[in-house]
């Protein structure tokens, strides 16, 4: 019984090796799977598409939050660099204006499975 299983495994390995030689795409796939073992087997599932449908534009807490952020941007000459805000903490108690924009909570890396 165990001999049969081992034989099958060798066959699969052989197939994979052949695939790498034949298809650069499959080689890339193997690379991706090696880096992210928990990746969903099939990309393009409904989870990904639904995220794509919603995700665009920055999420704000409410319209007040949005209007304040817009007013802040108008006052600045250059586009604000997000790194500036992270340096503020530690110096004084931060106020809501000092904190970085609240990131949309539905964002999860597509690589996190």
């Amino acid at each position: 019984m165990s001999e049969e299983v081992e034989g099958t495994r060798t066959l699969n390995e052989q197939q994979e090796m052949e695939d790498k030689v034949i298809s650069p795409e499959k080689a890339e796939e193997a690379k991706l799977k090696a880096r992210y073992p928990n990746l969903a087997p099939k990309h393009g599932g409904s989870d990904f598409l639904r995220k794509r449908l919603q995700q665009k534009g920055q999420k704000y807490f409410d319209s007040g939050d949005y209007n304040m952020a817009k007013a802040k941007m108008k006052n600045k000459q250059l586009p604000s660099a997000p790194t500036e805000k992270t340096e503020i903490t530690g110096d004084h108690i931060p106020t809501p204006q000092d904190l970085p924009q609240r990131k949309t909570s539905i964002v999860t890396s597509k690589l996190a499975g």
Binding site: S23, E28, L39, S46, L49, G57, Y66
Partner: protein, 426 residues
């Protein structure tokens, strides 16, 4: 890597009008800039005229979706011109949610000599008017005005990716990820929904609409492409709701070569009809395909844009470049043009099957100089003047290009720069 200092200037769409006299660009900041082809100068008849700025206006502003607490970007996704019917020019511009019809008109005369008004506009005392005069039209400096004539709003829950003017010149369609609507250019408070692929249960969602276009002659026919690499042709005479297609175009896939990336790279980012309406071309991540409308089971031609990226798909997935949406454009279907990375763009001659890679960048081109063909080296040995795949700058993408409808003039948008290349006249 190179970052754009002024993200609002990133060009997001490029389109010539029907005569090619005007070229419109839309950007991430919601602005539209229209360039006009200057008449050839008599002194230098061997050079075509240049394109200079004709009009600039703010088409869309950022908005706030109160229901979802999300910002609606002002980025112009598409511009489509209407055929010219009088002295004014009309175009449709759209962001994710709202389509606007803009009228661009010239004013080069001003009436002077009003009876009831002074030259500075102050009302004259009627009792002091002793004689009547006829106002005279006097020339003034050319003023180009853009005014919004129609606003087509609140018809799209998802993000608009395409607009297409119908050949009847009365209607147009707008497509978002899941739905396509048909509008009448005169009516803003209603639109017909003609395609709806939203499943009853969103967990069953498997594909989204990526692009749509009206047939150039048959006003009842349109096509839409999907994220799974399929194109559906629909006939509005067959049914009011075109959920059932009339034709279904898909290239069969070799199941043994299927990989994790197969579906992503098959997603069609652009679909365009040929002038005859007999063919259409589609752009997916690695290739441009030409389809005969009479043959649904496979394309008639396939052109490789940057096949060398097939062995880079892993890193292109990690940095999201694999989701970049490239457009394609053709010149009377003799030649096809599409963009790539590193500010490269590709042109294919359908008759000779020759192809060329060119670069749109300040360093590589001086005004009036001929563009030098570029080559990406894929093998181990890199020849002089070739660039290796690993040296390509994936932040420099050419997503938007357009070809003049009549002349050999092309417009190429490289991030926030617009390049216009022309063929030399002999």
């Amino acid at each position: 890597s190179d970052f754009c200092l002024f993200p609002a200037d990133i060009i997001s769409t490029v389109e010539f009008n029907y005569s090619g006299e005007l070229l419109a660009t839309g950007d991430k900041g919601g602005r539209v800039v229209i360039f006009q082809h200057e008449q050839e100068s008599k002194n230098r008849p061997h050079l075509r005229g240049e394109y200079n700025v004709y009009s600039t206006f703010q088409s869309h502003e950022p908005e706030f979706d109160y229901l979802k607490s999300l910002e609606i970007e002002e980025k112009i996704n598409k511009i489509r011109w209407l055929p010219q019917q009088n002295a004014a020019h009309f175009l449709l511009s759209t962001n994710d949610k709202t389509i606007k019809l803009w009228k661009i008109s010239e004013r080069d005369k001003r009436a002077e000599g009003y009876n009831l008004k002074d030259e500075d506009g102050r009302l004259r005392d009627p009792f002091r008017i002793t004689s009547l005069r006829v106002p005279v039209l006097m020339p003034m400096d050319l003023m180009v005005e853009a005014s919004p004539r129609r606003i087509f709003a609140n018809a799209h829950t998802y993000h608009i990716n395409s607009i297409s003017v119908n050949s009847d010149h009365e209607t147009y369609l707008s497509a978002d990820d899941l739905r396509i609507n048909l509008w009448h250019l005169e009516i803003t408070d209603r639109s017909f929904n003609i395609v709806d692929i939203k499943p009853a249960n969103m967990e069953e969602l498997t594909e989204v609409i990526t692009a749509a276009e009206c047939h150039p002659h048959q006003c009842n026919v349109f096509v839409y492409s999907s994220s799974k690499g399929t194109i559906r042709l629909c006939d509005m005479r067959a049914a009011a709701l075109c959920d059932r297609h009339s034709k279904f175009f898909e290239e069969p896939e070799d199941p043994s070569s299927r990989s994790f990336f197969s579906e992503i790279i098959s997603s069609i980012s652009d679909v365009k009809f040929s002038h005859s309406g007999r063919y259409m071309m589609t752009r997916d991540y690695l290739s441009v395909k030409v389809w005969d409308l009479n043959m649904e089971n496979r394309p008639v031609e396939t052109y490789q844009v940057h096949e060398y990226l097939r062995s880079k798909l892993c890193s292109l997935y990690e940095n999201d470049c694999i989701f970049d949406k490239f457009e394609c454009y053709s010149y009377w279907f003799f030649a096809i043009m599409t963009g790539s990375y590193n500010n490269f763009f590709r042109m294919f001659d359908r008759n000779t099957r020759r192809d060329i890679t060119l670069e749109a960048s300040r360093e590589s081109s001086k005004p009036r100089a001929t563009l030098k063909p570029r080559k990406v080296s894929t093998g181990g040995k890199r020849k002089k003047d070739e660039i290796s795949v690993d040296s390509l700058d994936f932040n420099k993408k050419i997503l938007h290009t357009a070809w003049h409808p009549k002349d050999n003039v092309i417009a190429v948008a490289a991030t926030n720069n617009l390049y216009i290349f022309q063929d030399k006249i002999n």
